[in-house]
């Protein structure tokens, strides 16, 4: 076959996955995207430049054959149950998909004897909440099944690096935001409601939960750029925060979007929208990725909000 590197992306039809495809398809490589059977056909249709397979990552044999056959040079493992807030309702899903799927993927690489560089996305929700910017060596304390599954994923990555010699780099990404994000996430939900209100399909009232929580937001397009940089230059076995280092209260996100609205909108508190164990501050320290990899976020917050709102306006 040709000398172009082969890049495999799991969760390619997901939020970060599709943005990663935007970056990868602009490069000279063969891109194979995996998606969950029955999910993401519309994303596949938007990316004919990639090859696509529907693969159940919980099916060990199919994963093994696929990895051995495709023999990727680089693998981005982004598949997983994404939402911390949902993982109480579907805790088995989060645990099974995030932990077992990662195990199958890494096992497939080992059994096939490949030297694939692997980037695994973990989450800031693994940390013990603290009042300061969290560094990679800060203590872990998973507060929900999703976070437990991400720690399992990180440990599987570590094991594969140490015992199998597979170069795996872990990205602990903090909140990321941007166009095409599911509306079960707060920012995207608000942007969608504003677009619906503008289109006259919804009363001009937005119901919200806890607005005082502070988060570290990165534009998803910056996040996936970090993934590529880490896959290329990250040290195997090492964990890197992917974050901006800047805390913003959720209210800022809401106000920013409302400012961009073309029509007046009222905000109403809704106690049902509070997550269990909602962490007051989740802020990351990006100094490791900045100094060692040379990555930093570039897209201003205002532009992210504008693009997110425009995305929902276009899909009305």
């Amino acid at each position: 076959m040709s000398g172009r590197p082969t890049v495999l992306v799991t969760g390619a039809a997901g939020f970060a996955g599709s943005h990663l495809l935007d970056v990868l398809l602009a490069r000279d490589c063969r891109v194979v995207g995996l998606r969950r059977p029955g999910i993401g056909a519309e994303v596949q249709a938007r990316y004919p430049g990639a090859e696509w397979l529907e693969i159940e990552l919980l099916d060990r044999d199919v994963v093994r054959h696929t990895l051995a056959g495709i023999a990727p040079d680089v693998l981005y493992h982004l598949a997983g149950a994404p939402h911390a807030g949902h993982s109480w309702g579907a805790s088995t899903d989060a645990l099974a998909i995030n932990a077992l799927a990662t195990h199958h993927v890494l096992e497939g690489i080992r059994v096939a004897g490949l030297r694939t560089r692997v980037l695994i996305s973990s989450s800031a929700y693994v940390y013990r909440p603290a009042g300061h910017a969290l560094g990679e060596d800060d203590p872990l304390e998973p507060a929900n099944p999703y976070a437990i599954s991400k720690i399992a994923t990180e440990l599987a990555a570590r094991r594969a690096t140490i015992h199998d010699g597979i170069p795996v780099v872990v990205a602990r990404s903090f909140n990321h935001l941007g166009p095409r994000q599911e509306s079960s996430f707060f920012g995207s939900a608000v942007a969608r409601q504003i677009a619906q209100i503008e289109a006259g399909r919804l009363d001009p009232v937005i119901r919200v939960g806890n607005l005082d929580a502070a988060r570290d937001f990165t534009d998803v397009r910056d996040t996936v750029r970090a993934y590529v940089a880490l896959a290329e230059r990250g040290e195997p076995g090492r964990i890197y925060n992917v974050c901006s280092g800047q805390a913003r209260v959720v209210r800022e996100l809401l106000d920013g979007l409302i400012t961009l609205s073309r029509v007046p909108v009222t905000v109403q508190p809704d106690p049902e929208r509070l997550r269990p164990n909602d962490t007051p501050l989740l802020l990351g320290n990006p100094s490791r990725i900045t100094s060692e990899i040379g990555w930093k976020p570039e897209i201003p917050f205002g532009r992210t909000l504008q693009d997110l709102l425009d995305y929902w306006r276009q899909s009305m």
Binding site: P37, E54, V62, H65, T66, I70
Partner: protein, 322 residues
């Protein structure tokens, strides 16, 4: 026209070479053992994985039929499927580009498309996975201007070499010899494509297929069991057992484990089983309209297999008697 045929000694490839020859085309037959095949063609021995070999064979041709594929239930190395089924197409496209060959007919498979009762492209076994990947590579090549025509045959059946590509022939032979344990997914729909019809469609595609066109080459869309119903009508042989899915799953698992640990070749794998448990109807209207594709009735096709098997058996008995 001078036509390069890859996979020329395979079950379908042989029929294509003969059909091209009958239609008055000069054929260059490219296969690992083409020179020993006795085909009516200029033969070039070579592997589809050898890009330079393919390019050399294509040099003086003005069309290519790319029918080479690894058709198998299982191989120890999944990579073989990718190198042959995905890499082979890349080699053919590159050879055509080098020599400015204006027409390539690519033999894909019904398995490269979603089954009738399902959406999306799956990868239940290595064959399906690599045919699906190659089909997408073909679509991309078309978008970039490659002069490609894609044919998607259904379950190809009919007399001919007993390779893994001739699944129906092998099953009927086993059934008549009392060696077929039963059918899995006996009520599932297959599109039975007679091998000579499919070969003729390849010739028509070379002559007048629309560049960038995709043609389904199906046949009667009938339950798998229907083929054995016809065998019973002709020979009186009772229908094979219907194997329930759970039993087949167990059998497949055991088969695969044996293959993995003992080095045998499995007859059934869990992934292949999944394929057998779906419906795969095809609509051949476009091929009928543009390629003059004609469907041999399933009854006639199966009757041809039965009489061909009988003559093969007679020939074999004659050889052992003399």
């Amino acid at each position: 026209m001078q036509v390069l045929v890859t996979g020329s000694t395979g079950y379908l490839g042989r029929a294509i070479v003969r059909a091209l020859d009958r239609a008055g085309h000069a054929v260059v037959a490219y296969s690992r053992s083409a020179s020993a095949s006795g085909l009516p063609a200029t033969t070039v021995d070579g592997d589809i994985r050898d890009a330079a070999g393919v390019a050399r064979a294509a040099r003086d041709c003005n069309a290519i039929v790319h029918a080479a594929a690894l058709v198998a239930v299982w191989r120890r190395q999944s990579r073989e499927f990718d190198d042959i089924n995905v890499g082979g197409l890349a080699n053919v496209l590159e050879a055509a580009r080098q020599h400015g060959i204006p027409r390539i007919v690519y033999t894909s498979s019904f398995l490269a498309q979603p089954p009738g009762d399902y959406r999306g492209v799956s990868a239940w076994n290595d064959y399906q996975r690599t045919k699906a990947l190659a089909s997408q590579a073909a679509d991309r090549a078309v978008a970039q201007g490659a002069p490609l025509i894609c044919l998607y045959p259904g379950v190809i059946y009919g007399p001919g070499r007993m390779t893994d590509g001739n699944l129906v022939g092998k099953m009927i032979a086993d059934h008549l010899a009392g060696r077929l344990p039963g059918l899995v997914g006996s009520d599932r729909i297959w599109s039975f494509a007679y091998v000579e019809d499919v070969a003729a469609a390849h010739v028509a595609a070379i002559e007048r297929g629309q560049i960038g066109g995709r043609y389904f080459l199906g046949g009667e869309n009938a339950p798998q069991m229907r083929a054995f119903d016809i065998v019973r009508e002709i020979t009186g042989r009772p229908l094979p057992r219907r194997l329930p899915g759970w039993l087949a799953s167990c059998a497949a698992l055991v088969d695969e484990l044996r293959a993995t640990w003992l080095g045998s070749t499995p007859q059934l794998t869990t992934g292949t089983l999944e394929i057998l448990l779906h419906d795969w109807p095809l609509d051949s209207t476009r091929a009928e309209q543009e390629l003059g594709y004609q469907v041999t009735p399933l009854r006639d096709g199966i009757a041809n297999i039965v009489s061909w098997l009988a003559s093969e058996r007679l020939a074999a008995e004659g050889e052992s008697a003399s």
